[in-house]
């Protein structure tokens, strides 16, 4: 029997949910409207909510000052590239941890996760020096490599959890049917784990897209991604709130759209296996 919830409670929760959602959305909304204001109106006190005069000048100015297309291209290469490279390493790793675990598997998983607990700045100097010596500074492939490495623990963990949900019988059946390891992974494991792999892929594209610390410290003009693009507008030379907003909007728009369209897939993947 369905649980009955009084109407007042339902209305109360609905209002609360909307209020929380609006609160979370307000910075993005504010950025959105500010991007269409003039610089003067953007810093006006008391602030206006909607622009008095709508203008697209900020977007033009932003494109003139820094090359949006170049930064966006770098973002796409780094986020997609690092995710694909990560999956290539993580799928076999997660397979072996989920289906052929050793006594140390749990320890290795915890150790991998522990690397994410350390602040990134802790390894800044060694990594910077390594990048300098290998001539990887301000290169797209260098940035892709570091993004792969920092997100690898999360990719492996997520895939490991999804793979654990796959009945081992089915993989054994594939082995009995004559599938060698590679065919077992390609024809059976991966297709069965598609929801999990897809949400891992999406989440990591988002993480890599939004990553700022390594992007800003390891790149300058050539290999900068959209996070470097935004940060270049928050310089101390002056307050250009409207331009900064326009830059931010341009930077987050693609990933916001991706997130919007893949919402269902993301949620399905993140709750994969929760209910059999």
């Amino acid at each position: 029997m369905a649980r009955r919830v009084p109407v007042q409670t339902r209305i109360g929760f609905t209002i609360l949910a909307w209020a929380i959602a609006l609160l979370l959305f307000s910075p993005i909304l504010w950025t959105l409207v500010t991007a269409f204001k003039t610089e003067a109106e953007a810093i006006a006190s008391p602030p206006t909510f909607l622009p008095q005069t709508w203008t697209l000048d900020n977007f033009g100015a932003v494109q003139d000052r820094s090359d949006y297309v170049k930064h966006a291209t770098n973002s796409i290469i780094v986020s997609v590239g690092s995710t694909l490279l990560g999956l290539l390493i993580a799928i076999p790793a997660a397979w072996s941890m989920a289906f052929a675990p050793s006594k140390r598997t749990k320890d290795i998983l915890m150790w991998m996760l522990s690397t994410k607990m350390m602040p990134a700045v802790g390894v800044l100097i060694p990594i910077y020096l390594i990048f300098r010596d290998l001539r990887l500074l301000d290169t797209v492939h260098g940035l892709t490599l570091i993004m792969t490495l920092i997100n690898l623990p999360i990719i492996i963990w997520m895939l490991y959890t999804y793979f654990k949900e796959i009945p081992v019988d089915i993989l054994e059946a594939a082995r009995m049917d004559g599938a060698e390891l590679w065919n077992e992974i390609r024809h059976v494991l991966v297709p069965m784990a598609v929801p999990g792999i897809a949400s891992t892929l999406l989440l990591n594209v988002i993480l890599a897209w939004n990553e700022a610390f390594w992007t800003i410290t390891l790149t300058s003009g050539r290999a900068g991604t959209l996070t470097a693009f935004i940060s270049s507008f928050s310089s101390p030379q002056g307050l250009f709130l409207a331009k900064l907003s326009a830059a931010s909007l341009l930077a987050i728009a693609p990933i916001l759209l991706l997130g919007w369209f893949s919402q269902k897939q993301l949620v399905r993947g993140l709750t994969f296996g929760a209910v059999k």
């Binding site: 089915i170 054994e172 059946a173 594939a174 082995r175 009995m176 049917d177 004559g178 599938a179 069965m192």
Partner: protein, 331 residues
């Protein structure tokens, strides 16, 4: 060809020894059933033969060739799992075709073989469905179809019927037996159900705690059990055992009488008892009788109308009393 030989096979998981030492000789074309209580090592033994587990020591030979270290894919055996283990993302057709695709068979041959298997197993109209759109019995047929298309040296069945309901189980049991008669390929079948073992097997391996208690034909096991364990495991309802003074009269540690080997009387007989429960099955009536030596199960014919509290007298058939020594070995 598909003869399977186990030579001193041992399997341990860390400290725990699952199979101490087993040697078996399974002949080509034979239907062999591994039977035993849960945890007796029967599934592990099957998985060792399949190659899904590695032996700790000992050798496994297929047609005389040592395959102890060969991966499952190289052994040429097919397995049907308890959970069916169908590929959920593939259609029935692709499920059945998968082993052939792995063997890199030309597409035309694959199509022909899949059609043939589907016809044999009455799956023709389901070929384009996904496994989740099939009933339990149909899924089991697909699993069998996937096993037969590759014409393996031997089939391995791991409790394939235990997820099916009782009526379907009897049906599938017959189908598998017919399949064996038709294909004449070696089959090894694991079950905990002694009825399945008795009805399907050419020979039965009775396992207990990782040891082979007896290996023989169903009737051999029924008529001449090697020990008390086999005597108690084979036959339904179970054999009655009596220890102490009554057994001493026969000069042994314990005796066993099967439920069907009693004469029942209301007036005379050596063993007096009271009917506790009478289970009427129509064809037979199983009486659970409280006697001086404990509870006895007795098979009476279906027309008997004994009820709770009736006093009856039991006479065991003297020619069919099983005798066991203190270690449980049959004498």
């Amino acid at each position: 060809m598909g003869s399977i030989t186990l030579e001193h096979v041992n399997k341990s998981f860390g400290e725990v020894e699952i199979i101490p030492d087993i040697s078996l000789d399974i002949r080509d074309g034979e239907f062999v059933v591994f039977v035993g209580p849960s945890g007796c090592g029967k599934s592990t033994l099957l998985r060792l033969i399949a190659g899904l587990e590695d032996t700790t020591s000992g050798h496994i030979r297929l047609d005389g060739q040592d395959v102890t270290d060969a991966p499952p894919a190289k052994r040429g055996l097919a397995m049907v799992f308890q959970s069916y283990a169908l590929y959920p993302h593939m259609s029935v057709r692709d499920n059945i075709a998968f082993p052939l695709k792995m063997a890199k068979m030309p597409q035309a041959d694959i199509d022909r073989k899949v059609e043939y298997a589907a016809r044999t197993l009455n799956l023709g109209s389901y070929l384009d469905r996904r496994p989740r759109a099939l009933s339990g019995g149909q899924r089991q047929r697909v699993a069998i179809g996937r096993a037969i298309v590759r014409e393996p040296k031997a089939f391995l069945f791991d409790e394939p019927l235990s997820n099916l309901d009782a009526a379907l189980r009897v049906n599938m049991r017959l189908e598998i037996t017919e399949l064996h008669q038709q294909l004449k390929t070696t089959m090894i079948y694991v079950t905990h159900d002694q009825v399945e073992a008795m009805t399907m097997a050419d020979r039965i391996v009775v396992l207990n705690a990782g040891n082979v208690e007896q290996f023989g034909s169903p009737l051999e096991l029924y008529k001449n059990p090697a020990n008390r364990f086999v005597a108690g495991f084979i036959g339904s309802p179970k054999m009655n055992f009596v220890d102490g003074a009554e057994a001493a009269k026969h000069g042994v540690h314990s005796i066993g009488v099967r439920p069907e080997h009693f004469r029942i009387s209301t007036s005379e007989g050596p063993w007096k008892g009271t009917v506790n429960v009478a289970e009427q099955l129509g064809s037979d009536t199983f009486l659970h009788v409280q006697t001086d030596f404990g509870l006895m199960t007795v098979r009476a014919d279906g027309d008997q109308t004994f009820k709770h509290g009736d006093t009856i007298y039991l006479t065991p058939d003297q020619t069919r009393i099983y005798r066991f020594d203190a270690a449980g070995k049959a004498i």
